[in-house]
């Protein structure tokens, strides 16, 4: 941990912010992964 945080608030501002970006990545990755898994099913329509 290179950054030195003096307050819990600053620390959370940093970590929670990072987690929000991560959440976007997570949701999109899971979607992509599911599409990859089901790509060769005969009925792969997402419906």
């Amino acid at each position: 941990m290179g950054n030195e945080f003096y307050t819990l608030h600053d620390f959370m501002l940093f970590t929670k912010g990072a987690v929000y970006y991560l959440m976007g990545v997570i949701v999109l990755s899971i979607l992509g992964f599911w599409l990859y898994i089901t790509a060769r099913d005969e009925d792969n329509l997402i419906q």
């Binding site: 501002l13 912010g17 929000y20 329509l45």
Partner: protein, 408 residues
């Protein structure tokens, strides 16, 4: 010439239009007052009570009661309850309008409404629960809009983009459930930061869970309640499938709501036990709390159960109303009654009439827009050219495009 005019005028002077007209006029008046004189001129908000009726009703209740959108679409598309299919579109439309109105009403409440996108585009405060609520409401409003767009496209006869969106139904539904879970619970979590200002009976570390679970009951009950109203006023717009499935949907949702209410009841009791708040039940606040818990959670759970067993549709409908009122009562209790309970009575808040006017104004706009859309677009019926659940028909259509179809 003048007689013709008065006749025209008379034609429009139905009681409904008169009431709506008065509400719109008053709403416009208070709107002008709000944006020229400030919140002080139209609200009873104080430095101790920064949040009043507009947050309690328009935001907290509005979002909870718009939960029908995600519960219905999840039941139909994720949990595979296909018989709820005809209930999805009205629920999505209601949810979309509900959220749009929540955001609209927030423009009255916040100081600088044009800055509402600031948390996402200028400077973020991710430590705030409100940031989470704002982000989810913002994204969910977009999601609901996309989910609603097919109705409009079918109305206009535009096929291609509509088919793309319909193919993404599952992804949109799941995304909607994720966002709803997050912000429904976070609306409760907003109050976690103020333990010293909340009455212990309503403050719990479980409060996000309480809000989320009760939003499911609220959503299911709102679908029952709205479908009753729609049945009454928009019967001619409904197709055979809708009418045929209607009773089944009502029974199914009543069963679901009963189970969720029982869950809600028990986790409330668990919260009470974990925080050792039983002794508060003997106070005045305790009586009020018991009224909420027994009269508006336990009672509707039982009434739903009886109504489902005895196949009593009327009882289900009244129980839906009771449940919705119970959720409204809970949101008011958390945000107004339990909040600042330590203050002396003369410092407590009661809304000014202007605040009621704006809340009624917002609901009225919602009703008008709903009526406008539902009486034109395929909401209560399936568009004959876009029938879905018989795949054969879809294939046929792809072979011979509809004359109105553009871009083929």
């Amino acid at each position: 010439m003048s007689t013709l005019k008065t006749e025209n005028l008379k034609q429009y002077l139905t009681p409904f239009n008169i009431v709506v007209g008065i509400i719109l006029l008053l709403g416009g008046f208070v709107t002008i007052l709000r944006f020229t004189k400030g919140l002080g001129a139209v609200t009873n908000l104080t430095d101790n009570y920064p949040w009043g009726l507009w947050i309690s009703f328009d935001l907290l209740c509005g979002v909870a009661l718009a939960a029908g959108g995600y519960t219905t679409s999840a039941a139909c598309y994720v949990f595979g309850l296909k018989r709820f299919h005809s209930a999805v579109r009205p629920a999505i439309l209601t949810a979309f309008l509900g959220y749009a109105l929540v955001v609209f009403a927030l423009h009255y409440d916040v100081g600088r409404p044009w800055r509402l996108p600031y948390p996402f585009f200028v400077q973020s405060g991710p430590t705030s629960v409100l940031f989470e609520v704002g982000l989810c409401v913002f994204l969910y409003l977009i999601t609901l809009f996309i989910e609603w767009v097919p109705s409009a496209l079918e109305w206009l006869g535009i096929r291609k983009p509509r088919d793309i969106i319909v193919k993404a139904t599952l992804a949109l539904t799941i995304f909607g459930v994720v966002l709803s879970t997050m912000h429904q619970s976070s609306l409760g979590a907003l109050f976690l930061i103020a333990p010293s200002k909340m009455h212990p009976l309503w403050y719990s570390s479980y409060i996000p869970l309480f809000f989320f679970v009760s939003s499911i009951a609220a959503g299911l009950s709102m679908v029952i309640f709205e479908s009753t109203l729609s049945h009454h006023y928009m019967h001619d717009k409904m197709d055979e499938t809708y009418l045929k499935e209607h009773d089944g949907v009502t029974y199914g949702f009543a069963k679901g709501a009963a189970m969720v209410l029982v869950l809600y009841f028990f986790i409330k009791v668990v919260g009470l036990t974990l925080d050792n708040n039983w002794s508060y039940l003997l106070t005045g606040y305790g009586a009020w709390y018991l009224l909420e818990l027994l009269g508006f959670v336990a009672l509707p759970a039982f009434l739903y159960a009886i109504a489902v067993r005895e196949k009593k549709l009327t009882l289900i409908r009244w129980t839906a109303v009771l449940t919705v009122l119970g959720i409204v009562l809970n949101r008011f209790n958390v945000s107004l009654v339990a909040f600042n309970w330590h203050l002396p009575p003369e410092m407590r808040y009661f809304p000014r009439w202007h605040e009621f006017v704006v809340s009624i104004f917002v609901v009225t706009i919602g009703l008008l827009v709903f009526r406008f859309i539902a009486s034109r677009m395929p909401i209560f019926y399936e568009h004959p050219d876009f029938k879905e659940h018989e795949a054969r028909e879809l294939e046929e259509h792809e072979l011979k495009p509809h004359p109105q179809t553009w871009g083929h």
